[in-house]
């Protein structure tokens, strides 16, 4: 079976800096895959490469059997890859509801010639609003639908970002430190939500995370990056015991 996501010898240079160096990895469908490594090891760059925010210097990104290496990020999203950001990148001056309605694909009312005539898109918009109710309920933000995103707490922002991704009906969700800046208890809840995305919607996840104790509770497989290269990979137990990983990560 072809994996949902496959990176082949991926490389990214920024001037003289090789941020990602010859990385090959696979993410099978329905899995929760962790990506760990010290700061500056190239994890976020790897996420950017997959999401199409930046193009690789060499190598390939294959998604569901197709080469998507050079697609811009909007096309990548349409193919079914959504992403979260390390810093919450919400529309802070828009309401929670507007935040989740914006990413819905192929909205009729987004075309300027239909937009002024409500009857062309009102029906569709109501259906999207009802889908948004479900997505917001999923992350327990429904009662805040009318709130400006800037008024949410840090943890709620992370959850809203996940709900926003959900509205694009992704097959693969890339999350960059979904628990950064969140209290430990809420961090665990966020991971429970993430696990439900896989169980309820069949969404595959690739997660960059520093809180290994939580990640290891949920991940099926873990890749370790160091200085742009893949250092190790394996099941959770394997990685937790790996001497080199412990040395790089914990300085042991």
């Amino acid at each position: 079976m072809t994996p949902l996501l496959e990176l082949k010898n991926l490389r990214k240079d920024f001037g003289g800096l090789r941020a990602v160096d010859d990385v090959s990895l696979t993410v099978p469908e329905g899995a929760i895959v962790g990506l760990i490594g010290p700061n500056g090891s190239g994890k976020s760059t790897l996420i950017n490469l997959i999401a199409g925010s930046t193009d690789p210097s060499a190598g390939q990104v294959r998604f569901a059997g197709q080469d998507i290496s050079d697609l811009p990020s909007n096309e990548v999203f349409k193919m079914g890859i959504a992403r979260g950001y390390q810093e919450p990148a919400l529309y802070f001056k828009m309401t929670v509801l507007d935040n989740v309605l914006l990413p819905v694909k192929d909205q009729r009312g987004e075309r300027p010639w239909f937009a002024p005539w409500r009857r062309f898109w009102q029906h569709e918009e109501s259906a999207h609003a009802e889908a948004a109710v479900q997505a917001l309920e999923q992350v327990q933000l429904l009662q805040h639908y009318d709130t400006l995103a800037s008024d949410l707490s840090g943890g709620q922002m992370k959850l809203l970002e996940i709900a926003r991704c959900l509205m694009g009906k992704p097959k693969l969700l890339l999350l960059d430190e979904p628990t950064a800046g969140v209290a430990p208890k809420l961090a665990y809840e966020i991971f429970q939500q993430i696990a439900r995305l896989r169980d309820d919607f069949g969404i595959t996840l690739l997660i960059v995370e520093h809180r290994l104790e939580i990640l290891f509770d949920f991940a099926d497989y873990v890749y370790v990056m160091h200085l742009g290269k893949l250092l190790a990979q394996g099941g959770v137990d394997e990685i937790a015991q790996d001497a080199i990983v412990r040395e790089v990560y914990f300085g042991e």
Partner: protein, 353 residues
Amino acid sequence: MINIDIGATAISILTLFGIYSLMSISLNLEYGVAGLPNFGKALFISIGAYTAGITYTRLLPLLAGAEAIHPCGPTMGGALQLRSEIMASQPIAGFINFALTLVFAAVIADAVGFAVSYVTLRLKEEWFLALVLLVGGETVRILVRGADDFICSHNGISGVAQPFFFVADPRSRALLFMLLSLALALLAYLCSQRLYHSPFGRMLKGLRENEEVTRGLGKNISLARAQIMAVGSLMAAIGGVLFALNTGFVNTNDFVVNLTLDVWVMVVLGGIGNNRGALLGALLIAIMDRFAQIGAIVLNMGGSEIEFNYVRFIAFGLILLWMLRYRPSGLLPESRLTTDAHDVVRRVIGASK
């Protein structure tokens, strides 16, 4: 003292308000909603004005079955007389010419707006568009001024007439033109309100706030920007047609950067992102404009040395600075909501309780 005709002053202010509204609403859509700093407003307004200058001197005689007279130089008097005869005796030809002027101006401005933005906005920084348009507007103005036969170069072209020219009573004529300009402004306002409160408006707001994320959420942002530039340019060009019709004269000197800045003052004053704010800004500037002119005349007649027209520039500059410092969101702040999806959700929540 001079006598101020209150009725005539009110009509001229409201006419100006309609014209300015078209300009400020268009900039509000581009900058206020979509975040595109259009510093080339004067270019798109001038496209409308030049189009009027050409249609009224070349197309109008054709529509009336007469032969066009070259409107520049020694034959200018004849051309003007021909225009007056046609406009007075054949109002239908005048109206058809007016309608065609609007269509041509809209199509040309649309094409220019779409083309300019589609090319420049593919670059990362939207401020590149601001510079291209700022420089482009001035370049086009100088080129046009140098093109002898186009609109009579630096002399400007006379002979633009408002469609109610055939009405004999000047007060009724002005009143009708005022209503026309207000009607077009109302149309632009309704259109932009509907755009704002639609998924298209929501996408544009998203674009303004975070371009990178909006692209990452599947939106073709170059296309969306070119589209809103096309809408904005269309409105600005129609404002330009009315501007020319109101003055009766098209001169390249009217379309310098000052005009662009005036429109910016309207939007910043009224409220960035709020269409009602754009209307309010246009009204306030129209009033100030007219009173600055009256003030200039009064001072001049009193033998004053002060050139009041410069006072106007200083006043506008101070308004801009004061607003940006103390009230950057303008007199009327932006609406929080986009579509009526919020009502749908409120109902769903209410039903489940």
